[in-house]
Symmetry: C2
Subunit: 283 residues, 2 copies
Amino acid sequence: MKLDLWFSEVHNDNIAFSVRVKDILFKGKSKYQEIAILDTYDFGRVLILDNTFQTTERDEFIYHELISHIPLFTHPNPKDVLVIGGGDGGTVREVLKHESVENVDFVELDEMVIEACKKYLPKLSCKIDDEKVNLIITDGIKYVAETDKKYDVIIVDCPDPVGPAKGLFEKEFYKNIFKCLKEDGLMVQQTESPLYDLELIKNIVNYLKEAGFKIIMPYLYPMPTYPSGMWSFTLASKKYNPLEVDEEHIKNKIKNMDTKYYDEKVHKGIFLATPKFLKEVVE
Amino acid sequence: MKLDLWFSEVHNDNIAFSVRVKDILFKGKSKYQEIAILDTYDFGRVLILDNTFQTTERDEFIYHELISHIPLFTHPNPKDVLVIGGGDGGTVREVLKHESVENVDFVELDEMVIEACKKYLPKLSCKIDDEKVNLIITDGIKYVAETDKKYDVIIVDCPDPVGPAKGLFEKEFYKNIFKCLKEDGLMVQQTESPLYDLELIKNIVNYLKEAGFKIIMPYLYPMPTYPSGMWSFTLASKKYNPLEVDEEHIKNKIKNMDTKYYDEKVHKGIFLATPKFLKEVVE
Protein backbone atom coordinates (compact mmCIF):
# COMPACT_ATOMS: atom_id res chain seq x y z
CA MET A 1 0.00 0.00 0.00
CA LYS A 2 1.22 3.46 -0.88
CA LEU A 3 0.14 5.78 1.90
CA ASP A 4 -1.80 8.82 0.65
CA LEU A 5 -0.12 11.23 3.04
CA TRP A 6 -0.93 14.97 3.22
CA PHE A 7 0.46 17.79 5.32
CA SER A 8 -1.96 20.66 6.05
CA GLU A 9 -1.36 24.06 7.55
CA VAL A 10 -4.61 25.33 9.00
CA HIS A 11 -4.63 29.10 9.35
CA ASN A 12 -7.08 31.07 11.43
CA ASP A 13 -9.25 27.94 11.92
CA ASN A 14 -10.87 28.79 8.59
CA ILE A 15 -8.51 28.08 5.71
CA ALA A 16 -6.04 25.30 5.02
CA PHE A 17 -3.29 24.70 2.49
CA SER A 18 -2.26 21.08 1.97
CA VAL A 19 0.51 19.33 0.08
CA ARG A 20 0.78 15.64 -0.74
CA VAL A 21 3.81 14.12 0.94
CA LYS A 22 6.26 11.56 -0.49
CA ASP A 23 8.37 11.10 2.59
CA ILE A 24 9.20 12.49 6.03
CA LEU A 25 12.93 13.21 5.91
CA PHE A 26 13.39 14.71 9.37
CA LYS A 27 11.35 15.21 12.50
CA GLY A 28 12.76 16.72 15.70
CA LYS A 29 11.92 18.82 18.70
CA SER A 30 14.32 21.53 19.81
CA LYS A 31 14.19 23.77 22.88
CA TYR A 32 12.15 26.23 20.84
CA GLN A 33 9.94 24.40 18.37
CA GLU A 34 8.99 21.26 16.44
CA ILE A 35 10.91 20.87 13.20
CA ALA A 36 10.08 18.73 10.18
CA ILE A 37 11.47 18.42 6.68
CA LEU A 38 9.13 16.73 4.22
CA ASP A 39 9.61 15.60 0.65
CA THR A 40 6.50 16.62 -1.31
CA TYR A 41 5.22 15.94 -4.82
CA ASP A 42 4.69 19.51 -5.94
CA PHE A 43 6.99 21.68 -3.85
CA GLY A 44 10.05 19.47 -3.44
CA ARG A 45 11.55 19.47 0.03
CA VAL A 46 9.71 21.60 2.59
CA LEU A 47 10.75 22.99 5.98
CA ILE A 48 7.96 23.03 8.56
CA LEU A 49 8.25 24.69 12.00
CA ASP A 50 5.40 24.15 14.48
CA ASN A 51 3.17 22.93 11.64
CA THR A 52 3.76 26.10 9.62
CA PHE A 53 5.33 26.29 6.13
CA GLN A 54 8.70 28.06 6.29
CA THR A 55 10.26 27.41 2.91
CA THR A 56 10.07 24.98 -0.01
CA GLU A 57 12.51 24.08 -2.76
CA ARG A 58 10.01 25.18 -5.39
CA ASP A 59 9.05 28.67 -4.28
CA GLU A 60 11.96 29.72 -2.04
CA PHE A 61 13.58 31.74 -4.87
CA ILE A 62 10.77 34.30 -4.68
CA TYR A 63 11.19 34.94 -0.96
CA HIS A 64 14.99 34.79 -0.78
CA GLU A 65 15.68 36.90 -3.85
CA LEU A 66 13.27 39.62 -2.76
CA ILE A 67 14.35 39.79 0.89
CA SER A 68 18.02 40.06 -0.18
CA HIS A 69 18.51 41.88 -3.47
CA ILE A 70 16.04 44.69 -2.79
CA PRO A 71 17.93 46.00 0.28
CA LEU A 72 21.41 45.11 -1.02
CA PHE A 73 20.84 46.99 -4.29
CA THR A 74 19.18 49.90 -2.48
CA HIS A 75 22.45 50.37 -0.55
CA PRO A 76 25.19 51.49 -2.99
CA ASN A 77 28.00 49.54 -1.34
CA PRO A 78 26.92 47.07 1.36
CA LYS A 79 29.86 45.51 3.23
CA ASP A 80 28.63 44.50 6.67
CA VAL A 81 25.37 42.60 6.75
CA LEU A 82 23.39 41.16 9.65
CA VAL A 83 20.89 38.37 8.95
CA ILE A 84 18.52 37.54 11.83
CA GLY A 85 16.70 34.22 11.46
CA GLY A 86 16.49 32.33 8.20
CA GLY A 87 18.16 29.21 9.53
CA ASP A 88 17.55 27.42 6.22
CA GLY A 89 20.36 29.51 4.72
CA GLY A 90 18.50 30.76 1.64
CA THR A 91 18.90 34.43 2.55
CA VAL A 92 22.61 34.05 3.32
CA ARG A 93 23.08 32.31 -0.06
CA GLU A 94 21.56 35.30 -1.90
CA VAL A 95 23.41 37.90 0.22
CA LEU A 96 26.75 36.31 -0.70
CA LYS A 97 26.05 36.85 -4.40
CA HIS A 98 26.97 40.51 -3.76
CA GLU A 99 30.72 40.89 -4.19
CA SER A 100 30.82 44.04 -2.06
CA VAL A 101 29.70 42.09 1.02
CA GLU A 102 32.70 41.36 3.26
CA ASN A 103 31.05 39.96 6.36
CA VAL A 104 27.68 38.39 7.19
CA ASP A 105 26.78 37.99 10.85
CA PHE A 106 24.15 35.27 10.78
CA VAL A 107 22.14 35.17 14.02
CA GLU A 108 19.86 32.16 14.38
CA LEU A 109 18.14 31.05 17.56
CA ASP A 110 17.80 27.36 16.85
CA GLU A 111 20.86 25.25 16.05
CA MET A 112 18.69 22.23 15.24
CA VAL A 113 17.15 24.14 12.29
CA ILE A 114 20.64 24.88 10.94
CA GLU A 115 21.75 21.26 11.28
CA ALA A 116 18.58 19.81 9.73
CA CYS A 117 18.72 22.25 6.78
CA LYS A 118 22.43 21.60 6.21
CA LYS A 119 21.62 17.91 5.87
CA TYR A 120 18.29 17.95 4.02
CA LEU A 121 18.08 21.31 2.25
CA PRO A 122 21.55 21.74 0.68
CA LYS A 123 20.17 23.91 -2.14
CA LEU A 124 19.37 26.53 0.49
CA SER A 125 22.00 25.93 3.15
CA CYS A 126 24.96 25.61 0.76
CA LYS A 127 26.65 28.84 1.88
CA ILE A 128 26.21 28.68 5.64
CA ASP A 129 29.83 27.54 6.08
CA ASP A 130 31.23 30.18 3.71
CA GLU A 131 34.24 31.99 5.15
CA LYS A 132 32.45 35.36 5.02
CA VAL A 133 29.65 33.99 7.24
CA ASN A 134 29.88 34.29 11.00
CA LEU A 135 27.18 32.04 12.48
CA ILE A 136 26.04 33.13 15.95
CA ILE A 137 23.55 30.87 17.73
CA THR A 138 21.56 33.24 19.91
CA ASP A 139 18.32 35.21 20.17
CA GLY A 140 18.27 38.02 17.58
CA ILE A 141 16.27 40.25 19.95
CA LYS A 142 18.99 39.93 22.60
CA TYR A 143 21.75 40.27 20.00
CA VAL A 144 20.65 43.67 18.67
CA ALA A 145 20.01 44.91 22.22
CA GLU A 146 23.55 44.07 23.32
CA THR A 147 25.92 44.41 20.35
CA ASP A 148 27.95 47.53 19.60
CA LYS A 149 28.44 46.60 15.97
CA LYS A 150 27.01 48.74 13.16
CA TYR A 151 25.81 47.30 9.86
CA ASP A 152 25.07 48.57 6.37
CA VAL A 153 22.09 46.27 5.94
CA ILE A 154 20.06 44.20 8.41
CA ILE A 155 17.71 41.48 7.12
CA VAL A 156 15.12 40.08 9.53
CA ASP A 157 14.11 36.72 8.06
CA CYS A 158 11.70 35.84 10.84
CA PRO A 159 8.81 33.41 11.33
CA ASP A 160 5.31 34.45 12.39
CA PRO A 161 5.00 36.70 15.47
CA VAL A 162 4.24 33.92 17.95
CA GLY A 163 6.39 32.29 20.63
CA PRO A 164 10.05 33.34 20.65
CA ALA A 165 9.61 35.43 17.47
CA LYS A 166 7.01 37.75 19.03
CA GLY A 167 9.65 40.25 20.15
CA LEU A 168 10.86 40.61 16.55
CA PHE A 169 7.71 42.66 15.87
CA GLU A 170 7.84 44.97 18.91
CA LYS A 171 8.83 48.60 19.40
CA GLU A 172 12.00 47.90 21.38
CA PHE A 173 13.38 45.64 18.64
CA TYR A 174 13.07 48.31 15.94
CA LYS A 175 14.83 50.87 18.15
CA ASN A 176 17.72 48.45 18.53
CA ILE A 177 17.79 47.72 14.80
CA PHE A 178 18.04 51.47 14.17
CA LYS A 179 20.91 51.67 16.67
CA CYS A 180 22.75 48.78 14.95
CA LEU A 181 22.66 50.44 11.52
CA LYS A 182 25.29 52.86 10.22
CA GLU A 183 24.19 56.42 9.42
CA ASP A 184 23.16 55.38 5.92
CA GLY A 185 21.98 51.88 6.81
CA LEU A 186 18.73 50.14 6.00
CA MET A 187 16.73 47.08 7.02
CA VAL A 188 14.17 44.69 5.60
CA GLN A 189 11.81 42.42 7.49
CA GLN A 190 9.31 39.71 6.66
CA THR A 191 5.99 41.32 7.66
CA GLU A 192 3.21 38.73 7.14
CA SER A 193 0.10 38.83 4.93
CA PRO A 194 -1.54 42.12 3.98
CA LEU A 195 -4.81 40.19 3.71
CA TYR A 196 -4.72 38.78 7.25
CA ASP A 197 -2.33 41.02 9.17
CA LEU A 198 -2.90 44.59 8.01
CA GLU A 199 -3.17 45.84 11.61
CA LEU A 200 0.18 44.24 12.44
CA ILE A 201 1.78 45.92 9.41
CA LYS A 202 0.34 49.27 10.57
CA ASN A 203 1.93 48.78 13.98
CA ILE A 204 5.29 47.83 12.48
CA VAL A 205 5.26 50.93 10.28
CA ASN A 206 4.49 53.12 13.30
CA TYR A 207 7.27 51.52 15.36
CA LEU A 208 9.71 52.06 12.50
CA LYS A 209 8.71 55.73 12.29
CA GLU A 210 9.16 56.14 16.05
CA ALA A 211 12.56 54.45 15.81
CA GLY A 212 13.64 57.22 13.42
CA PHE A 213 13.54 55.66 9.94
CA LYS A 214 12.92 58.22 7.19
CA ILE A 215 11.86 55.91 4.38
CA ILE A 216 9.42 53.08 5.13
CA MET A 217 8.02 51.05 2.25
CA PRO A 218 6.16 47.75 2.35
CA TYR A 219 6.24 45.57 -0.75
CA LEU A 220 4.12 42.66 -1.84
CA TYR A 221 4.94 39.34 -3.49
CA PRO A 222 3.20 36.02 -4.13
CA MET A 223 4.18 33.21 -1.76
CA PRO A 224 2.30 30.04 -2.75
CA THR A 225 2.87 28.12 0.50
CA TYR A 226 2.04 30.91 2.98
CA PRO A 227 -1.56 31.57 4.13
CA SER A 228 -3.41 33.57 1.44
CA GLY A 229 -0.35 33.37 -0.85
CA MET A 230 -0.08 37.16 -0.63
CA TRP A 231 2.86 38.20 1.49
CA SER A 232 4.89 41.27 2.40
CA PHE A 233 8.31 42.58 3.27
CA THR A 234 8.86 46.05 4.73
CA LEU A 235 11.95 48.11 3.98
CA ALA A 236 13.04 50.86 6.39
CA SER A 237 15.93 53.11 5.47
CA LYS A 238 17.84 55.99 7.04
CA LYS A 239 18.95 57.52 3.74
CA TYR A 240 18.65 55.54 0.53
CA ASN A 241 15.37 55.33 -1.39
CA PRO A 242 14.88 52.13 -3.42
CA LEU A 243 13.16 54.16 -6.16
CA GLU A 244 16.30 56.27 -6.66
CA VAL A 245 18.81 53.51 -7.39
CA ASP A 246 20.78 53.41 -10.62
CA GLU A 247 19.07 50.81 -12.82
CA GLU A 248 22.18 50.35 -14.98
CA HIS A 249 24.24 49.48 -11.91
CA ILE A 250 21.80 46.70 -11.01
CA LYS A 251 21.60 45.50 -14.60
CA ASN A 252 25.37 45.08 -14.79
CA LYS A 253 25.65 43.29 -11.46
CA ILE A 254 22.59 41.05 -11.65
CA LYS A 255 23.72 39.32 -14.85
CA ASN A 256 25.97 36.93 -12.96
CA MET A 257 23.69 36.37 -9.99
CA ASP A 258 21.47 33.69 -11.49
CA THR A 259 18.17 35.15 -10.31
CA LYS A 260 14.79 33.86 -11.44
CA TYR A 261 12.50 36.56 -10.05
CA TYR A 262 14.49 39.72 -9.34
CA ASP A 263 15.97 42.06 -11.94
CA GLU A 264 16.53 45.81 -12.31
CA LYS A 265 12.92 46.39 -13.45
CA VAL A 266 11.44 44.39 -10.58
CA HIS A 267 13.49 46.46 -8.12
CA LYS A 268 11.43 49.62 -8.67
CA GLY A 269 8.31 47.98 -10.07
CA ILE A 270 7.61 46.00 -6.91
CA PHE A 271 7.28 49.24 -4.88
CA LEU A 272 5.15 51.01 -7.50
CA ALA A 273 2.93 47.93 -7.69
CA THR A 274 2.20 48.00 -3.95
CA PRO A 275 -1.61 47.89 -3.78
CA LYS A 276 -3.44 51.04 -2.76
CA PHE A 277 -4.80 49.54 0.47
CA LEU A 278 -1.27 48.61 1.58
CA LYS A 279 0.26 51.95 0.61
CA GLU A 280 -2.40 53.68 2.70
CA VAL A 281 -1.03 51.95 5.79
CA VAL A 282 2.20 53.93 5.50
CA GLU A 283 0.66 57.36 4.93
CA MET B 1 -24.25 19.74 16.42
CA LYS B 2 -22.58 22.37 14.25
CA LEU B 3 -21.24 20.63 11.18
CA ASP B 4 -17.53 21.29 10.61
CA LEU B 5 -17.88 21.66 6.86
CA TRP B 6 -14.95 22.35 4.51
CA PHE B 7 -14.74 22.87 0.75
CA SER B 8 -11.45 21.83 -0.86
CA GLU B 9 -10.12 22.44 -4.34
CA VAL B 10 -7.53 19.80 -5.11
CA HIS B 11 -5.15 20.91 -7.86
CA ASN B 12 -2.86 18.64 -9.79
CA ASP B 13 -3.57 15.77 -7.34
CA ASN B 14 -0.83 17.22 -5.14
CA ILE B 15 -1.99 20.43 -3.48
CA ALA B 16 -5.29 21.52 -1.96
CA PHE B 17 -6.76 24.78 -0.74
CA SER B 18 -9.66 24.50 1.69
CA VAL B 19 -12.09 26.94 3.25
CA ARG B 20 -14.42 26.35 6.16
CA VAL B 21 -18.04 26.67 5.08
CA LYS B 22 -20.93 28.30 6.96
CA ASP B 23 -23.65 27.45 4.51
CA ILE B 24 -24.41 26.21 1.01
CA LEU B 25 -26.48 28.97 -0.58
CA PHE B 26 -26.92 27.50 -4.05
CA LYS B 27 -26.20 24.26 -5.85
CA GLY B 28 -27.19 23.61 -9.44
CA LYS B 29 -26.21 21.81 -12.60
CA SER B 30 -26.46 23.61 -15.92
CA LYS B 31 -25.88 22.28 -19.44
CA TYR B 32 -22.21 23.19 -19.04
CA GLN B 33 -21.12 22.75 -15.44
CA GLU B 34 -21.90 22.29 -11.78
CA ILE B 35 -22.43 25.55 -9.95
CA ALA B 36 -22.28 26.25 -6.22
CA ILE B 37 -22.32 29.38 -4.10
CA LEU B 38 -21.03 28.89 -0.57
CA ASP B 39 -20.95 31.17 2.43
CA THR B 40 -17.53 30.81 4.08
CA TYR B 41 -15.96 32.09 7.30
CA ASP B 42 -12.90 33.76 5.84
CA PHE B 43 -13.74 34.65 2.26
CA GLY B 44 -17.42 35.56 2.46
CA ARG B 45 -19.55 34.24 -0.36
CA VAL B 46 -17.72 32.11 -2.90
CA LEU B 47 -18.62 31.03 -6.44
CA ILE B 48 -17.51 27.48 -7.31
CA LEU B 49 -17.73 25.98 -10.83
CA ASP B 50 -16.91 22.27 -11.23
CA ASN B 51 -15.26 22.26 -7.79
CA THR B 52 -12.97 25.14 -8.73
CA PHE B 53 -12.81 28.55 -7.01
CA GLN B 54 -14.02 31.29 -9.37
CA THR B 55 -14.42 34.33 -7.16
CA THR B 56 -14.95 35.29 -3.53
CA GLU B 57 -16.31 38.39 -1.86
CA ARG B 58 -13.04 38.91 -0.01
CA ASP B 59 -10.46 38.79 -2.77
CA GLU B 60 -12.49 39.59 -5.91
CA PHE B 61 -11.38 43.24 -5.86
CA ILE B 62 -7.84 42.21 -6.82
CA TYR B 63 -8.91 40.22 -9.87
CA HIS B 64 -11.66 42.52 -11.10
CA GLU B 65 -9.78 45.79 -10.67
CA LEU B 66 -6.70 44.48 -12.45
CA ILE B 67 -8.50 42.79 -15.37
CA SER B 68 -10.51 46.00 -16.01
CA HIS B 69 -8.60 49.16 -15.15
CA ILE B 70 -5.29 48.11 -16.69
CA PRO B 71 -6.71 47.77 -20.24
CA LEU B 72 -9.26 50.58 -19.88
CA PHE B 73 -6.60 53.06 -18.75
CA THR B 74 -4.14 51.83 -21.38
CA HIS B 75 -6.69 52.84 -24.04
CA PRO B 76 -7.05 56.65 -24.03
CA ASN B 77 -10.79 56.69 -24.74
CA PRO B 78 -12.54 53.29 -24.57
CA LYS B 79 -16.16 53.42 -25.73
CA ASP B 80 -17.08 49.95 -26.98
CA VAL B 81 -16.10 47.09 -24.72
CA LEU B 82 -16.62 43.33 -25.08
CA VAL B 83 -16.50 41.18 -21.95
CA ILE B 84 -16.34 37.42 -22.57
CA GLY B 85 -17.12 35.28 -19.53
CA GLY B 86 -17.17 36.64 -15.98
CA GLY B 87 -20.79 35.72 -15.35
CA ASP B 88 -20.48 36.89 -11.73
CA GLY B 89 -20.55 40.47 -13.02
CA GLY B 90 -17.46 41.76 -11.18
CA THR B 91 -15.65 42.74 -14.37
CA VAL B 92 -18.69 44.51 -15.82
CA ARG B 93 -19.07 46.43 -12.53
CA GLU B 94 -15.49 47.75 -12.80
CA VAL B 95 -15.74 48.47 -16.56
CA LEU B 96 -18.77 50.69 -15.94
CA LYS B 97 -16.75 52.90 -13.59
CA HIS B 98 -15.20 54.36 -16.76
CA GLU B 99 -17.38 57.26 -17.92
CA SER B 100 -16.08 57.03 -21.50
CA VAL B 101 -17.59 53.55 -21.90
CA GLU B 102 -20.82 53.75 -23.87
CA ASN B 103 -21.60 50.10 -24.50
CA VAL B 104 -20.58 46.79 -22.95
CA ASP B 105 -21.40 43.62 -24.86
CA PHE B 106 -21.34 40.97 -22.16
CA VAL B 107 -21.08 37.47 -23.63
CA GLU B 108 -21.58 34.66 -21.10
CA LEU B 109 -22.14 31.02 -21.97
CA ASP B 110 -24.08 29.94 -18.92
CA GLU B 111 -27.30 31.72 -17.97
CA MET B 112 -27.53 29.76 -14.72
CA VAL B 113 -24.28 31.40 -13.51
CA ILE B 114 -25.77 34.84 -14.22
CA GLU B 115 -28.99 34.04 -12.40
CA ALA B 116 -27.27 32.49 -9.36
CA CYS B 117 -24.84 35.42 -9.05
CA LYS B 118 -27.62 37.97 -9.42
CA LYS B 119 -29.36 36.35 -6.47
CA TYR B 120 -26.47 35.44 -4.17
CA LEU B 121 -23.55 37.70 -5.15
CA PRO B 122 -25.16 41.14 -5.48
CA LYS B 123 -21.88 42.91 -4.61
CA LEU B 124 -20.48 41.58 -7.86
CA SER B 125 -23.51 41.30 -10.11
CA CYS B 126 -24.99 44.72 -9.22
CA LYS B 127 -24.40 46.23 -12.67
CA ILE B 128 -25.40 43.37 -14.96
CA ASP B 129 -28.77 45.03 -15.65
CA ASP B 130 -27.26 48.48 -16.27
CA GLU B 131 -28.62 50.13 -19.41
CA LYS B 132 -25.14 50.25 -20.98
CA VAL B 133 -24.81 46.46 -20.67
CA ASN B 134 -26.00 44.21 -23.47
CA LEU B 135 -26.08 40.66 -22.12
CA ILE B 136 -25.70 37.99 -24.81
CA ILE B 137 -26.03 34.37 -23.70
CA THR B 138 -23.81 32.46 -26.13
CA ASP B 139 -20.39 30.88 -26.57
CA GLY B 140 -17.68 33.58 -26.68
CA ILE B 141 -15.63 31.50 -29.13
CA LYS B 142 -18.54 31.39 -31.54
CA TYR B 143 -19.40 35.06 -30.92
CA VAL B 144 -15.99 36.45 -31.94
CA ALA B 145 -15.88 34.12 -34.96
CA GLU B 146 -19.21 35.38 -36.27
CA THR B 147 -19.67 39.03 -35.27
CA ASP B 148 -18.78 41.97 -37.50
CA LYS B 149 -18.56 44.39 -34.57
CA LYS B 150 -15.29 46.09 -33.66
CA TYR B 151 -14.34 46.98 -30.09
CA ASP B 152 -11.89 49.29 -28.36
CA VAL B 153 -11.20 46.81 -25.56
CA ILE B 154 -11.95 43.08 -25.20
CA ILE B 155 -11.70 41.45 -21.77
CA VAL B 156 -11.62 37.65 -21.63
CA ASP B 157 -12.63 36.76 -18.08
CA CYS B 158 -12.44 33.02 -18.59
CA PRO B 159 -12.22 29.92 -16.38
CA ASP B 160 -9.45 27.30 -16.67
CA PRO B 161 -8.77 25.86 -20.13
CA VAL B 162 -10.87 22.73 -19.71
CA GLY B 163 -14.26 21.74 -21.12
CA PRO B 164 -16.11 24.49 -23.00
CA ALA B 165 -13.40 27.08 -22.11
CA LYS B 166 -10.60 25.18 -23.87
CA GLY B 167 -11.14 27.05 -27.13
CA LEU B 168 -10.58 30.38 -25.35
CA PHE B 169 -6.87 29.50 -25.24
CA GLU B 170 -6.43 28.39 -28.87
CA LYS B 171 -4.89 30.00 -31.95
CA GLU B 172 -8.16 30.52 -33.83
CA PHE B 173 -9.70 32.43 -30.92
CA TYR B 174 -6.88 34.97 -30.77
CA LYS B 175 -7.15 35.57 -34.53
CA ASN B 176 -10.82 36.35 -34.10
CA ILE B 177 -10.15 38.61 -31.10
CA PHE B 178 -7.67 40.55 -33.28
CA LYS B 179 -10.30 40.83 -36.02
CA CYS B 180 -12.91 42.13 -33.52
CA LEU B 181 -10.66 44.96 -32.30
CA LYS B 182 -10.48 48.41 -33.87
CA GLU B 183 -7.13 49.50 -35.35
CA ASP B 184 -5.98 50.79 -31.99
CA GLY B 185 -7.75 48.17 -29.87
CA LEU B 186 -6.39 45.96 -27.11
CA MET B 187 -7.35 42.88 -25.12
CA VAL B 188 -6.68 41.30 -21.74
CA GLN B 189 -7.16 37.67 -20.77
CA GLN B 190 -6.95 35.63 -17.58
CA THR B 191 -3.94 33.37 -18.27
CA GLU B 192 -3.55 30.98 -15.32
CA SER B 193 -0.65 30.45 -12.89
CA PRO B 194 2.94 31.19 -13.92
CA LEU B 195 4.01 28.55 -11.41
CA TYR B 196 1.90 25.74 -12.88
CA ASP B 197 1.10 26.84 -16.42
CA LEU B 198 4.19 28.51 -17.84
CA GLU B 199 4.03 26.39 -21.02
CA LEU B 200 0.43 27.45 -21.58
CA ILE B 201 1.39 31.12 -21.17
CA LYS B 202 4.22 30.60 -23.73
CA ASN B 203 1.70 29.18 -26.20
CA ILE B 204 -0.75 32.03 -25.63
CA VAL B 205 2.00 34.60 -26.22
CA ASN B 206 2.99 32.87 -29.47
CA TYR B 207 -0.61 32.73 -30.67
CA LEU B 208 -1.03 36.44 -29.88
CA LYS B 209 2.12 37.24 -31.88
CA GLU B 210 0.87 35.18 -34.83
CA ALA B 211 -2.49 36.94 -34.65
CA GLY B 212 -0.65 40.26 -35.21
CA PHE B 213 -0.48 41.94 -31.80
CA LYS B 214 2.51 44.27 -31.46
CA ILE B 215 2.62 44.63 -27.69
CA ILE B 216 2.19 41.52 -25.52
CA MET B 217 2.76 41.80 -21.78
CA PRO B 218 1.84 39.33 -19.04
CA TYR B 219 1.37 40.68 -15.53
CA LEU B 220 1.27 38.97 -12.17
CA TYR B 221 -0.92 39.41 -9.10
CA PRO B 222 -1.70 37.51 -5.92
CA MET B 223 -4.96 35.56 -5.94
CA PRO B 224 -5.43 33.85 -2.57
CA THR B 225 -8.11 31.37 -3.65
CA TYR B 226 -6.51 30.18 -6.92
CA PRO B 227 -3.97 27.30 -6.97
CA SER B 228 -0.54 28.60 -5.91
CA GLY B 229 -2.05 32.05 -5.22
CA MET B 230 0.18 33.44 -7.97
CA TRP B 231 -1.84 34.32 -11.03
CA SER B 232 -1.52 36.14 -14.35
CA PHE B 233 -3.30 38.27 -16.90
CA THR B 234 -1.89 38.90 -20.37
CA LEU B 235 -2.42 42.16 -22.23
CA ALA B 236 -2.15 42.25 -26.02
CA SER B 237 -2.36 45.56 -27.83
CA LYS B 238 -2.29 46.79 -31.45
CA LYS B 239 -1.02 50.26 -30.60
CA TYR B 240 -1.07 51.50 -27.00
CA ASN B 241 1.67 50.56 -24.54
CA PRO B 242 0.57 50.45 -20.87
CA LEU B 243 3.95 51.88 -19.82
CA GLU B 244 3.34 55.02 -21.90
CA VAL B 245 0.05 56.16 -20.39
CA ASP B 246 -0.33 59.55 -18.76
CA GLU B 247 -0.15 58.97 -15.01
CA GLU B 248 -1.90 62.27 -14.25
CA HIS B 249 -4.87 61.25 -16.39
CA ILE B 250 -5.29 58.06 -14.36
CA LYS B 251 -4.79 59.91 -11.08
CA ASN B 252 -7.61 62.34 -11.89
CA LYS B 253 -10.03 59.66 -13.03
CA ILE B 254 -9.34 56.98 -10.42
CA LYS B 255 -10.21 59.26 -7.47
CA ASN B 256 -13.91 58.59 -7.88
CA MET B 257 -13.68 54.92 -8.76
CA ASP B 258 -13.41 53.50 -5.25
CA THR B 259 -10.57 51.07 -5.97
CA LYS B 260 -8.73 49.17 -3.26
CA TYR B 261 -5.83 47.71 -5.27
CA TYR B 262 -5.36 49.68 -8.49
CA ASP B 263 -4.02 53.22 -8.78
CA GLU B 264 -1.83 55.18 -11.21
CA LYS B 265 1.38 53.78 -9.67
CA VAL B 266 0.18 50.18 -9.79
CA HIS B 267 -0.66 50.64 -13.49
CA LYS B 268 2.98 50.79 -14.56
CA GLY B 269 4.51 49.10 -11.54
CA ILE B 270 2.67 45.83 -12.11
CA PHE B 271 4.37 45.42 -15.52
CA LEU B 272 7.82 46.42 -14.26
CA ALA B 273 7.40 43.97 -11.37
CA THR B 274 6.74 41.03 -13.70
CA PRO B 275 9.23 38.39 -12.53
CA LYS B 276 12.21 37.66 -14.73
CA PHE B 277 11.13 34.07 -15.46
CA LEU B 278 7.76 35.30 -16.72
CA LYS B 279 9.21 38.16 -18.80
CA GLU B 280 11.48 35.65 -20.49
CA VAL B 281 8.42 33.86 -21.86
CA VAL B 282 7.59 36.87 -24.02
CA GLU B 283 11.07 37.47 -25.43
